[in-house]
């Protein structure tokens, strides 16, 4: 616990120092980033100790806030989320030192680093807090710090608008959480999580209500469809290292909150599982469909976060159904897959956002259709982005496959088991996951293929340059971590035992043997991976041997005899995705503006597509317009005259006085 406090202290202190030192023209980046790295290393030591089965440590300090207590505790669940938070933040901070450098002379970087370090600290505190008030304070600091990070380029109107959007969404979510904590505190007479966990029984209605509030409140942060609307706005606006942290780990605090809530809401009824499976299917499938239709690389990645949150929700839902169906394997594999996917998604999504930042840095645009051929110009970014793309598509041998395989195993376990409910849940999760996997592969062949392969589609792309070492190595590190989890999957899965014991240990449906079985399966997968590597090597050697001494020439790409091929004739992201957006037009509602060639000598033709967010346009926008209209009725109260406002205050006080004396 001491190390952990020291770590948080360093994070805060280095952030403050960066704020004080970082005036215009001076670059506090190294100081702040060094603080984050040091804090992460120190914080990871106790976290790893707990994840590997060490004792739970806690600390209680008195706090002058009513109902508040500075109660933090590092148990296996907290540690499981704390590790990716610290690791990804440290990597992103190193990356940020170079990424922010081009603004060095335009604006002062101090505040940005201060808020970055605040964000990391508050995320750590969110997963450590055991008191409702402390939790909410940390939650709010997290929202505010990330708001200021999103609006880093506040001279751009679109960024300001995205920031505003994010702030409203975050606070709407927090409102539900506030209700959640108030009701829980009133029912138990305490604001301490541990007391709630031991309180035992809730009235059935209350537990259900609390669950719904938690799903909406935490789900808004996590990005469940349809509460996801802020993600595709905020992620593209933020600087890339911030997007990486927000998408990789900040949204996972929502998942953490949901897991934590499950630890004290008592035995879950089965409909909780169905709710999560339903949300998982909608988030997963719609998330990847909307991602396919995007042209902006960062928006595409933001929708993929929605998709991956959906996969996590599928795993959680399957676990909850498993608890009800008394199918311990289902519980372990569902929860285990969800937890592992939290870490995996942090790694590969962090990697992909950093890669996108590198593209933005080197080629100056995130428009997929303006890029192309970057692999030759940015080899490091290209290779690491490819690793991230393979991982996020859930393909072997990287880490995405491992967590998806756990959920698949759980699903098949349910399908082949005796319980029909579990079989239906397994069928839903499995079918959804298979569709999501195929569509994700479609989306990332598009993203990688159009951006990095072929010929450059614009002058920017043709003149792109590779990023420097401080941006390259974080990407290499994350790519290596993706491969590492893939290669050491059996050990990683066994490492899930303590946290799963904490989540499901109380219920009779806990049998660690399922994890052993899963790690046996994974060791077979690892053997297959090694065979795959060896075969690739053999085939490459064979080809080299066959080609030695024969003519190997280069020519233009086969062009059907057309004499003047240009880069503009290549397939674009829009044309690649067009059959899919056509097929799913019912949900995507892609707008196409087509200017067809006409006449014998057509002067010019164009096509533009645009896929606005469905729930943004059809759900939230009308609702907020109605709200605005309703509230505008009260505008007569506000005249801008101070005297009248003083009168309002006086009247209010008088009314309160009368009410009190009554």
């Amino acid at each position: 616990m001491n190390l952990l406090l020291l770590s948080l202290g360093i994070l805060l202190a280095s952030g403050l120092a960066a704020l004080l030192l970082g005036r215009r023209g001076r670059d506090p980046s190294w100081l702040a980033a060094a603080g984050v790295v040091a804090g992460a290393v120190l914080g990871c030591i106790p976290a790893f100790r707990v994840v590997l089965g060490g004792t739970v440590t806690s600390l209680r300090l008195n706090w002058a806030v009513p109902y508040g207590e500075f109660h933090v505790e590092l148990d296996a669940l907290s540690a499981w989320f704390l590790i990716p938070i610290l690791v990804l933040s440290a990597v992103a901070a190193v990356y940020g030192t170079e990424y922010l450098a081009k603004w060095r002379n335009q604006k002062s970087l101090g505040p940005s680093w201060f808020f970055f370090n605040m964000l990391v600290t508050s995320m750590a505190l969110v997963v450590l807090a055991r008191n409702a008030v402390l939790f909410l304070v940390a939650w709010e600091v997290m929202a505010l710090a990330s708001f200021f990070l999103v609006t880093f380029e506040d001279e751009r109107e679109d960024v300001r608008e995205a920031g505003w959007f994010y702030l409203v969404a975050a606070h709407l979510g927090t409102a539900f959480l506030l209700a959640f904590f108030l009701i829980a505190a009133r029912e138990t007479g305490s604001t301490d999580f541990n007391q709630w966990a031991t309180a035992g029984t809730w009235a059935p209605g209350t537990a259900g209500l609390l669950f719904v509030l938690a799903v909406i409140g935490f789900g808004t942060k996590a990005g469940f469809m349809p509460f996801h609307v802020w993600l595709p706005e905020a992620h593209p606006a933020a600087p890339s290292h911030v997007s990486a942290v927000m998408s990789g780990v900040m949204i996972k605090t929502g998942i953490y909150g949901l897991f934590r809530a499950l630890t004290f809401l008592g035995p879950p009824p089965i409909w909780w599982g169905w709710v999560l499976i339903g949300l998982g299917l909608s988030s997963g499938i719609l998330g990847v469909l909307f991602a396919l239709a995007q042209h902006d690389l960062k928006r595409l990645l933001a929708y993929h976060s929605v998709e991956n949150i959906g996969i996590i929700a599928l795993g959680m839902g399957m676990g909850l159904v498993g608890i009800n169906a008394h199918a311990p394997t289902l519980v372990l594999l569902g929860f285990g897959g969800a937890l592992l996917h939290v870490v995996n998604h942090a790694l590969f999504k962090g990697l992909l956002f950093l890669g996108t930042g590198s593209v933005l840095h080197g080629a100056g645009t995130r428009e997929i259709d303006h890029l192309g051929g970057l692999l030759k110009r940015m080899p490091w970014t290209g290779v690491t982005f490819l690793a991230g793309a393979v991982a996020i598509s859930g393909l072997p041998p990287l880490n995405g496959f491992v967590s998806e395989l756990l959920i698949f195993l759980g699903a098949y376990e349910g399908i082949t088991g005796p319980d029909v409910t579990a079989a239906v849940a397994g069928l839903a999760a499995m079918g959804g996951l298979a569709l999501i996997g195929g569509l994700a592969a479609a989306c990332f062949t598009k993203a990688f293929g159009i951006v990095f392969l072929g010929e450059p589609r614009s002058e920017h792309a043709a003149q792109a340059h590779e990023s420097g070492a401080a941006m390259r190595w974080p990407m290499v590190f994350l790519a290596a971590a993706c491969a590492g989890i893939g290669l050491f999957a059996p050990a990683v899965v066994r490492g899930l035992t303590p946290v799963l014991a904490q989540l499901a240990g109380g219920s009779p449906a806990f049998a660690p043997s399922a994890l052993t079985a899963a790690s046996h399966v994974l060791s077979q997968v690892v053997i297959a991976t090694l065979c795959l590597g060896a075969l690739i090597l053999l085939l490459a050697l064979l080809r080299r041997w066959l080609l030695s001494g024969r003519s190997v020439t280069t020519a233009v790409t086969w062009d059907c005899g057309y004499a003047q091929p240009t880069a503009r004739m290549q397939y674009t992201a829009s044309s690649f995705a067009q059959p899919l957006t056509r097929l799913f037009h019912g949900v995507l509602r892609t707008h196409e503006r087509v200017n067809k060639p006409q006449g014998l000598f057509p002067p010019g033709a164009s096509v533009a597509t645009d896929t606005p967010d469905f729930s943004h346009g059809n759900l939230y926008r009308p609702a907020f317009l109605k709200l605005n209209w309703a509230l505008s009725k009260f505008r007569w109260l506000q005249h801008g005259k101070v005297q009248l406002y003083v009168l309002y205050i006086a009247l209010t006080l008088l009314l309160l006085l009368v009410w009190k004396l009554r």
Binding site: G373, L375, L386, L395, P396, L405, F408, Y412, E413, I415, T416, V424, L427, G431, A434, L435, G437, G438, A441, A442, T445, K446, G449, I450, L453, G454, E455, A517, V521, Q524, I527, A528, C531, L532, L535, I536, L539, A540, L542, R543, L546, L547, R550, S551, V552, T553, T554, A555, V556, T557, W558, C560, A567, Q570, Y571, S575, F576, Q578, P579, L580
Partner: protein, 303 residues
């Protein structure tokens, strides 16, 4: 036991190009031609392996890695698939997921190798390939789930071994539905009619063939061989569901399995002779239909 487990991959490696020969001869017979020699695919592979290569100036290492990863992935997948009653070399619960995702890895690299050429033809093929396979994947996994529930195991070998003649007597509708779904998936994944026509040489209408237009020499040999293996594997999968396991005798099993494989090739040849390729816009309906049939089979099994 162990020696018998070596047979499925061995047969796959040796005989898979012959399937293409059988299909082509069937089509020739329907068209009243003599047709190419049965062993033509082997001659083609041999010829390609002895040629030089031409690479496009646009391409990078991804283009050269595509055929390597593709063939290696499908070769690893070969280890997981049983042949009739002969068990696979490696069998474990969940191997069917690994199988599906290894094919996914093969597809991923074929697609990005196609995009690496910068050719709009190959982009077109790639775009269609990812769409159709995204729809075929749920159909494949749900169909396998239905028979997995019946078999009480989710390993390909167990599923094949536990579906006996008795299962056909009890749940014939389920097995028939699963069989239809798997056949559709097999035809789609292997770019056969009615989804894709391997014979057409009009780039605008092709899917798989158009993606590999720019590969030549040994690279193209790898791709052709990988495609033949994939056809063999998905055929073996269909077979393991459709042909009930017969029990002990190794030679009988072997004869049934090989007979089944070439019977299947004959069937594919007949389908290609009597059907036209579907319009591209109709193909998703076919695949979603296959998924729906598989789901119906699953629901029937759930009772």
């Amino acid at each position: 036991m162990k020696a018998a487990a070596l047979l499925p991959p061995l047969f796959a490696f040796l005989l898979s190009p012959l399937l293409l020969g059988v299909i082509n001869r069937t089509k020739a017979a329907f068209a009243g031609r003599n047709g190419q020699p049965l062993l033509q695919s082997y001659y083609d592979l041999w010829k390609l392996l002895h040629k030089g290569a031409v690479y496009s100036r646009t391409t990078s290492w991804v283009f050269r890695a595509g055929p390597l990863v593709g063939l290696a992935a499908v070769m690893v997948a070969t280890m997981l698939v049983p042949l009739g009653d002969l068990p696979a070399l490696v069998a474990f619960p969940g191997d069917l997921v690994l199988f599906a995702y290894l094919l996914g890895l093969m597809r991923f690299f074929t697609v990005i190798a196609a995009l690496d050429t910068g050719s709009s033809f190959e982009g077109m093929g790639a775009s269609r390939e990812v769409l159709f396979s995204a729809l075929a994947e749920p159909a494949l996994l749900i169909a396998l789930a239905a028979v997995a529930r019946r078999a009480g195991s989710y390993s390909l070998t167990d599923i094949g071994a536990r579906l006996s003649t008795e299962s056909w007597l009890q749940i014939a509708p389920v097995l028939a539905l699963v069989g239809v779904a798997l056949v559709v998936v097999m035809l789609a994944e292997n770019a056969r009619i009615p989804v894709d026509d391997p014979n057409t040489h009009l780039e605008l209408t092709m899917i798989h063939e158009v993606m590999v237009l720019d590969h030549s020499g040994p690279d193209f040999a790898y791709i052709l061989y990988g495609a033949a293996l994939k056809l063999w594997l998905l055929g073996a999968l269909v077979l393991s569901v459709l042909v009930p396991s017969s029990g002990g005798n190794l030679w009988l099993n072997l004869a049934m399995a090989l007979g089944g494989m070439f019977g299947l090739a004959l069937g594919v040849g007949i389908v290609e002779s009597v059907m036209a390729r579907l319009r591209l816009l109709v193909v998703p309906q076919l695949l979603v239909g296959a998924g729906a049939l598989a789901t119906v089979a699953m629901i029937l099994v759930l009772r």
